[in-house]
Every structure is written in C-alpha cells, then in structure tokens.
Amino acid sequence: MAEINKELVKYIATLARLEFDEDELDDFTEKFRRILEYVEQLKELKVDEIEPTYHINVNYTSMREDEINQSLEISEVLKNAPDKKDNFFRVPRVVE
C-alpha cells in the first residue's frame, strides 16, 4: 500500500486545487489512511483477466441528429456569475 503521510496528502491536495490548514492535516491524514487501508481488501482478488467496467450501458449509447437547437440566453447564463463584464465572466488576473 502507498504510504499515507502528510506529504502525500498535501501533494494530492495540490492536484485537486484544495488546501488544508496545518491543524486539520493530522486528522485528515489519519482518516484518509484508514479509508485506504480498508480498500486494500481488493488485493485479495485476482483480476488480471477481467475487463474493467467503466460504464453500464456500453452497448446502448443512444445517438441523435446533430441539429441546431435554441440554447440558453447569455444573459440568463450570466445571472449566476459572481463577477461579469459585458458578455463575459470576469476573474482575477491570470498573468503577471
């Protein structure tokens, strides 16, 4: 099993764009370790020859005509934006 320590938790948090305070980190790491210990039981099973199931309805995927339909008005879509300007979402500075 992968060694679960604070460094690994911090690394995964970076990938997920999350962040934990130092005082939350111990508790979080401990619970994270317990869950990963629990899932270790899958090691009991030999599955080399088994195909993975990523999706249930692989044989059913339904198709439709590629037609132009009415979509939402831009003004409607922007109603929930925390910040906007003209027809755009506005965000903080991206480049220096």
């Binding site: 992968a2 938790v9 995964i12 948090a13 990938l15 997920a16 764009r17 999350l18 962040e19 934990f20 979080f28 619970k31 994270f32 317990r34 869950i35 990963l36 629990y38 899932v39 039981q41 899958l42 099973l45 599955v47 088994i50 195909e51 993975p52 199931t53 990523y54 999706h55 249930i56 309805n57 059913y60 995927t61 339904s62 439709r64 939402l72 409607e76 879509v77 109603k79 929930n80 934006a81 925390p82 910040d83 979402f89 965000v91 903080p92 500075r93 991206v94």
Partner: protein, 487 residues
C-alpha cells in the same frame, strides 16, 4: 375531505372532477411543511410565491380542460435537481445562491403532467453521506425519533413523506441515497435501472452510478411517479431509448410462481436481529402468496464498499472540479490571482466530507496509483455486475434488508467515515451493477423504528419489482409510513 389521506391518483381525480381545488391540496401541504420545518429541517427552500403561482397557472389550465397524470400533486424535489428560477444548492455553501436557468428533464416531465413543483429538500452536501449530517443547512431529523438521523443522502425527501410534508418526492441514488433513507424513515423509495431516467439537470456526483427516483407512501404512487419521470431524453446520452411502460396500470398482486432469491451474503453478522426476523416474516408472506424462495449467492458483495469509494470518488473529483468560483456559486474574496481564487473558493466552499471524497478520487486517478486503485476497482465492479447477471438467470427478484441497522443517533457515526460508509453495504452494489431496486417498509424494530426490505430486479424489470412490492403491501394491509398517519 381528509387531504392528508389521499393517494396521488385520488388527488388527481378529485381535482380534475372539480371536487377539490388545486389550491386546497397545495395549501394543506404548505401548511404542514412550514409547521414541521423546525422539527424536521426537511426543506432547504420552500418558495411559497413560486408554488402559489404554479397553482394559479394550473387552475387556469384546468379551466381549459387540462388533464394530466399528476394534476395538482405537490412533489418535493431533492436540492441537487435543477428547478428553473428556484434556488438549487446541493446543500453546499459553494452553491448557496445558485438559481438554475433551466429545469431538469424530470422536473419538466412532472410539470407537463400537472404536478406542482414543491419545496427543495435537504440532503447531504453533494449527496455525499448516509445520514444527512453533512448538509451546509443543518441535519435532517427522523420523525420516528427526533434524536435520530433519517439516512441519506436524500434525507429530506424521505422525511417529507414520513412527516407528511409532501405526498411524494424525488431523490437521487448513487450508492443507496434513495433506498437507505426510505428504509430508515419507513417509506417507499426506488432507484430505477441506470439509464431509465434522464440525469439532465441532476447535479452530477458519480455519473456512472447516479439515478433519480421517487419516494412515496404506496406502491401505486411510486409506480405513477416513476412512469412520469422515466423515458429517453436526447439531452442525456446515457438515457436509454426503449419502451417506457405505464407501471401504475401494469400493477398486479398475483405473484404465484415468482422466483425470489435470498442472498446469504446479506444476512451476515452485524445485521440487527430484529431486521433479520422481520425479513424472514416477509419471506413467509411471499411463500403464502405463492412465490418460490431460493437461497442464492452474490459472492463479491463484501467488496462493494471498497469498489464504490474508489469509483464514485474518482467520478466526483472530476465532476466537482467545475466549482471554481468562475461561473456560479460561491467565490472567495481577497485573492491575489486566479489560482488562489480556485483554491480558496474550494477550501471555503466545500465541507469536510466533500473534500475527503475529492481527495480520495484524485488519489484513485493519480498517476502511479491509477492501476492499483481506480482500474482495479473497475475490474472488481465487473465481478459484482456478473454476480447479479448470474443470479437473475435463476431468479426474478432478489430480497434482502435495505440497511444493516435501523436509524442511528445523530452524531453516532459522523466522526468515523468507514462506519458511515458501511451503512450502505446492502445498497451500493445495485448502483455498481446498474440494476433497479426498491426499498419498502417491513415492520418495526423493538425501539419502534422502521425496517426496510429491499427488492432488486434485473435491468429494466421495474414492473416485476413493483408487483412484488404491491403483492406484499396488499397482503400486510398497507404500510405504516408515518407516525402522524392516524392523527
């Protein structure tokens, strides 16, 4: 006229024949919903003005001769299902102010049949939980004992039925989130076959597992709501284009010759004795009704939780990446750049359990771990699916407890994720396999808490499940779904 006791069909017929008014029914439930809200906390949003507007519009439609399957029936909607112009929060701070500009397909279909889109029900944050304790808007309480959890994640939708705050509701089920709360609250809840009901407008958690389904008091009510929300939707490529039966008309009590499988892996240590005893009694009832009982095996049952918490979290980590403060919902303030905005928004906007699952899923998919975790879990998922497929070669339906325990105390498991996850041990594999299943009331334990029995069926055999339920319901003389039923 005692509105409280009316079935959905009765409400519709009485309204369409002008014996009662749409307003009478909606106002009755609005009053109950408001009076009991402080005790149950079942609703996050109860937009009275919007509801009364719908009533007014429907009354005008009735003047013009409108007829529908659910005319004037108020239906409460879980708060992860988008309702146009009604706030939809997913019980999260990160969506606390989100007002969808469109209706989910299921909501559109309910409206088309004349239903009144009632309050938005409380839930675990992003449907991640089994106790309704992770909601940003506070826990939901179980009407059978206010100190206990109602189950989750669709706790509010289950309680709305058992506290008689609505006559029917919708929930969503990713690992048991309809069936487990239905069981713990003594009501009916059904998860349809994956692909039977459109997920368009359902805020995604685990996209290969999520399915919307009804909560109800009676099998017939459940069947009626299910037939309205089911069916192919071009907006959801995983919804399946095939015949959509009228389940309520197809109901039959005659289950002579029905082959019922009882899986030995669902009667293990840790299942409360009263639950086993009551399920045994139900099996005897089915025997008396002419069903044939077979002991069967679903050998990979015990791996379900581990598989689920690698797959569902992986899908969630991808689905929840969209909450970054750009397009809707909460945005952290006082940030120096875009990246910090993303991080602070997620840090401040998500609760602990949601963060845990995003982390777990990110780990399961991360380079270096993917094969050992996500891919391995997906292979074991194949074995779990095969268990069901071979079982359904021998039997028509499978019968087992919905949950290993009845409702537990608020706070009892909230600090122990593994214990909490284990409360879904009997519901989770159904989602991994994609088959339909239903939880129906099956008596009470010695504490007076409801017990649920689960009926699982093969792909697209909802009618068989409903008939099994209907036969049992008729044999026991109806369900006691609420502590307030006789008041």
């Amino acid at each position: 006229m005692d509105i409280k006791k009316l079935t959905l069909e009765e409400i519709r017929n009485l309204i369409e024949s002008r014996v009662i008014k749409v307003r009478d029914v909606t106002e009755f439930y609005l009053k109950r919903a408001k009076e009991l809200q402080e005790k149950t906390n079942a609703f996050i949003t109860l937009d009275e003005e919007n509801i009364l507007n719908q009533v007014e519009n429907l009354e005008k439609e009735l003047e013009r001769g409108f007829k529908g399957k659910l005319t004037g029936v108020p239906i409460a909607i879980k708060d992860n299902i988008c309702t146009k112009n009604i706030r939809t929060t997913c019980a999260s701070k990160i969506l606390y102010n989100f007002i969808p500009p469109y209706d989910a397909t299921v909501v559109e279909r309910l409206k088309k049949e004349g239903a009144i889109i009632f309050g938005k029900t409380n839930m675990d944050e992003f449907a991640m939980g089994s106790s309704n304790e992770t909601s940003y808007f506070g826990p939901v309480k179980n009407p059978w004992d206010w100190d206990r959890i109602p189950g989750g994640s669709s706790g509010g939708s289950a309680v709305a039925i058992s506290a008689i705050q609505a006559p029917a509701s919708l929930g969503s089920d990713t690992g048991g989130s309809i069936r487990q709360p239905a069981s713990l609250c003594g009501v009916i809840g059904m998860k349809p076959t994956y692909g039977r009901v459109s997920r368009y407008g359902l805020i995604a958690f685990g996209s290969s597992l999520d399915q919307i389904g009804p909560f109800a008091r009676t099998t017939k009510d459940c069947a009626l709501v299910l037939e309205v929300i089911s069916g192919y939707d071009p907006k959801d490529s995983t919804s399946i284009n095939r015949e959509n039966p009228e389940y309520s008309k197809g109901l039959s009590k005659d289950i002579r010759g029905l082959k019922i499988g009882v899986p030995k892996e669902y009667f293990i240590d840790g299942v409360e004795e009263d639950i086993v005893v009551n399920i045994q009694k139900a099996i005897d009832t089915f025997k008396n009704l002419g069903a044939e009982i077979y002991e069967i095996s679903l050998p990979h049952t015990k791996y379900g939780i581990a598989v689920y918490y690698l797959i569902a979290t992986a899908e969630a980590s991808s689905n929840l990446a969209r909450y970054d403060g750009v397009k809707y919902g909460y945005r952290a303030q006082n940030v120096k750049d875009l990246k910090q905005m993303y991080i602070k928004t997620k840090k401040e906007g998500f609760g602990e359990e949601v963060k845990r699952r995003i982390m777990l899923g990110t780990f399961s998919l991360a380079s270096g771990y993917y094969d050992a975790y996500y891919k391995k879990a997906s292979k074991v998922r194949t074995l779990i699916k095969q268990d069901f497929m071979s079982a359904f070669e021998k039997v028509d339906v499978i019968l087992c407890p919905t949950s290993p325990t009845t409702a537990f105390k608020i706070g009892e498991k909230s600090n122990d994720p593994i214990q909490m996850y284990l409360s879904d041990i009997f519901t989770i594999n159904v989602n991994l396999a994609g088959v339909p299943a239903m939880s129906i009331p099956c008596g009470f334990d010695r504490k007076g808490l409801p017990i649920g029995m689960q009926i699982m069926g093969n792909y697209f055999e909802e009618q068989k499940i409903l008939n099994t339920s209907y036969a049992y319901e008729s044999a026991v003389g109806g369900f006691k779904f609420s502590p307030f039923q006789e008041e």
